[in-house]
């Protein structure tokens, strides 16, 4: 249990459980602060581009009508809608994600696992007004007035910092808007199913190796699943290294040489060990990793 797994641990800490009405536990992984910042940057750039397009459009309209009226109205309303409803509009869709979130494979969900209401989406996004736009306005006006008051500027930076880094200071990675709306942002990755390694290996070839139960119980579920990764990735160096480690651990003489021999050994060991451990799983005995002696 005391195995150092810091990267996996960090991922583990972002896992949250959701129990479906059918009674099955699903795991949601909260988005990391980095990917959320990335998503926001993408959205901010898109908004900026739309705003510039809007302004250019307004100028064209002024040219056409020779009066400022229609252009001013389009610009004012467009800016208002963009600023307040860009996020709300996109997050109201089936995917509950803005283009930026989609790009970074994130989505918004209700913290209680229930329906994500329009009220919740609106609440989390209206809070951006104090998180993003207020300090932005503040900084711009401070710039315009040449930072006349240093204390005011300092206060503005502190304010921005509190809201900007808020997701880093609570374990659920909530920003103020998430807090108010009862939502959180989770990863929405879609792993593809890898080809079944058991189906690829016929048992006659595996049997030829004659692994003993003792050899097969050297490792547990954790290691076998890492081995699965190694086989799927099929990187020659890793295959050779891992084959060497396993041979030494189970006490087989190092008869490896070529890469294909190592690969064949690993495939055979994986197949035999997995079948063995899965068989024991059916009897309710789970060996979690190589340190687990209860299994």
């Amino acid at each position: 249990m005391a195995e150092p797994r810091t990267a996996a641990d960090k991922k583990e800490r972002r896992l949250r459980e959701l129990v479906t009405p059918e009674g099955v536990t699903l795991h949601l992984r909260l988005a990391s602060a980095g990917s959320r910042a990335g998503a926001f940057t993408v959205d901010a750039v898109i908004m900026l581009v739309i705003l510039i397009a809007l302004t250019v459009l307004a100028f064209f309209i002024i040219g056409g009508f020779r009066t400022i009226g229609p252009a001013a109205i389009i610009w004012l309303l467009g800016f208002f809608l963009l600023r307040n409803f860009y996020f709300t509009l996109f997050e109201s869709g089936v995917r509950a994600a803005t283009p930026g979130k989609r790009m970074l494979k994130l989505r918004v969900v209700a913290r209680d696992g229930g329906r994500l209401t329009g009220g919740a989406i609106l609440a989390r996004n209206l809070m951006r007004e104090v998180e993003v736009f207020l300090p932005l306005i503040f900084l711009l006006s401070a710039q315009a007035q040449g930072f006349s008051n240093r204390w005011l500027a300092l206060l503005g930076f502190a304010w921005t910092g509190i809201f900007l880094f808020m997701p880093l200071f609570n374990r659920d990675r909530l920003r103020a808007g998430d807090l108010i709306a009862g939502t959180w942002v989770v990863e929405n990755e879609r792993p593809k199913i890898a080809p079944d390694l058991l189906a690829a290996n016929d048992s006659a070839r595996t049997d030829a190796w004659g692994f003993t139960p003792h050899e097969l119980e050297t490792y547990g579920q954790f290691e076998i699943q890492r081995l699965e990764d190694v086989l799927h990735r099929n990187d020659p160096d890793t295959v050779t290294t891992v084959a060497g480690v396993i041979r030494r651990k189970i006490g087989r003489r190092d008869q490896g040489g070529s890469w294909s021999e190592d690969r064949a050994f690993l495939e055979a060991y994986y197949t035999a060990a997995r079948l063995h451990l899965e068989r024991r799983l059916l009897f309710g005995q789970r060996k979690r990793d190589k340190f687990d002696s209860t299994g």
Partner: protein
């Protein structure tokens, strides 16, 4: 016993038997997420929950019997996606909008009634304070109202000039631009009042009070010249809508602040979430009210100059809002 005697049952068949179902579910989910739920045929709509349940049960079996990490991860992501499509999906937009006007909005406003009373009282009190402050020392006027906003309507202005600002038609056109600007500006201020409520409502109090003082100071310039009634008509034709909206925005902010400060028996998070969702519903309404107020201010106020007509419109609007919020949607949702 060696591994060679291990029976060949298990995951091999488990996976081959079910994989077609999983792929079908994945295709359906892709269709819903990339296009829209409308693209599903009736047959698909029946299939979707069935496929979700079989996938979910496959996941629980796989967790107990299989070591195939890739398959378990795949099943979990598939189940999660299907779960959010089936349980997290909202009603169609038009029905959401209908529901909002039929009961969501008035019910949300009724839900923040105590805060509304408090904010209204605060607004009124600060208006009275502003009024007497300026009466006691006219120098306060310039401190409270920025000169560009007063545009000559200050303590030294003549009664004739003040009267002209109330009843004369504006010289330049562009009413529609003016109305749009007022709407977006006021809506932004209200959204700010809402969002700042998060800090226990304190900045919201400040924002509302400063608006009240402003109004009171304005009255102090007009009332001594006998234009109190005229100013009220000029203000209230749109003000009955606009001030109600601003008070509701402040109340919505305070509602959140209250839930954060005094969550009661719920957890602080749960209380904040519930209050936030309700207050956000009020805020959509506030933006709509401000749109109406902007139109009234931009057009009706400039085009209608008779006091009587102004008061009639103001009273009608107020009655409309109060009646709607007090009675709207009571039958539909308790």
């Amino acid at each position: 016993m060696t591994a060679s005697t291990a029976p060949a049952f298990g995951v091999r068949h488990f996976r081959t038997e079910r994989e077609a179902d999983w792929q079908r579910l994945e295709a359906l989910l892709d269709l819903v997420e990339k296009k829209s739920p409308k693209r599903l045929t009736n047959e698909d709509l029946v299939e979707l929950p069935r496929l979700y349940r079989t996938t979910l049960s496959a996941l629980s079996i796989a967790r107990e019997t299989s070591l195939d990490a890739s398959m378990i991860a795949y099943l979990e992501s598939l189940s999660t996606r299907a779960y959010f499509i089936l349980y997290g999906c909202r009603e169609p937009l038009w029905r959401q909008i209908g529901g909002f006007f039929a009961y969501g909005w008035p019910a949300a406003v009724r839900g923040i009634f105590p805060e509304t009373l408090l904010i209204a009282a605060l607004f009124l009190a600060s208006a009275v304070a502003g009024y007497f402050l300026v009466l006691s020392d006219p120098a306060w006027f310039n401190a409270i109202i920025p000169p560009e906003m007063a545009s000559g309507r200050d303590m030294n202005a003549t009664a004739d000039y003040l009267r002209s600002t109330l009843y004369d038609r504006p010289k330049e056109g562009g009413l529609e631009v003016f109305a749009t600007f007022l709407f977006t500006h006021n809506a932004q201020i209200s959204i700010m009042a809402f969002a700042l409520g998060f800090a226990f409502g304190i900045p919201t109090f400040f924002l509302i009070a400063s608006n009240g003082v402003l109004l009171g100071a304005m009255y102090a310039a007009f009332i001594p010249k006998g234009l109190g009634v005229g100013l009220t008509g000029w203000l209230m034709i749109h003000g009955s809508t606009e001030l109600s909206a601003i008070i509701l925005a402040g109340a919505a902010g305070l509602h959140i602040g209250r839930a954060v400060a005094f969550p009661g028996t719920r957890t602080r998070m749960a209380a904040a979430g519930e209050a936030g969702r309700r207050a956000a519903l009020v805020m959509i309404g506030v933006v709509i009210m401000l749109l109406v107020a902007g139109l009234l201010e931009g057009f009706a106020r400039q085009l209608i100059t008779a006091d009587g007509a102004r008061f009639a419109i103001a009273a009608a609007m107020l009655a409309l809002w109060v009646g709607y919020f007090a009675l709207g949607g009571r039958r539909a949702h308790g």
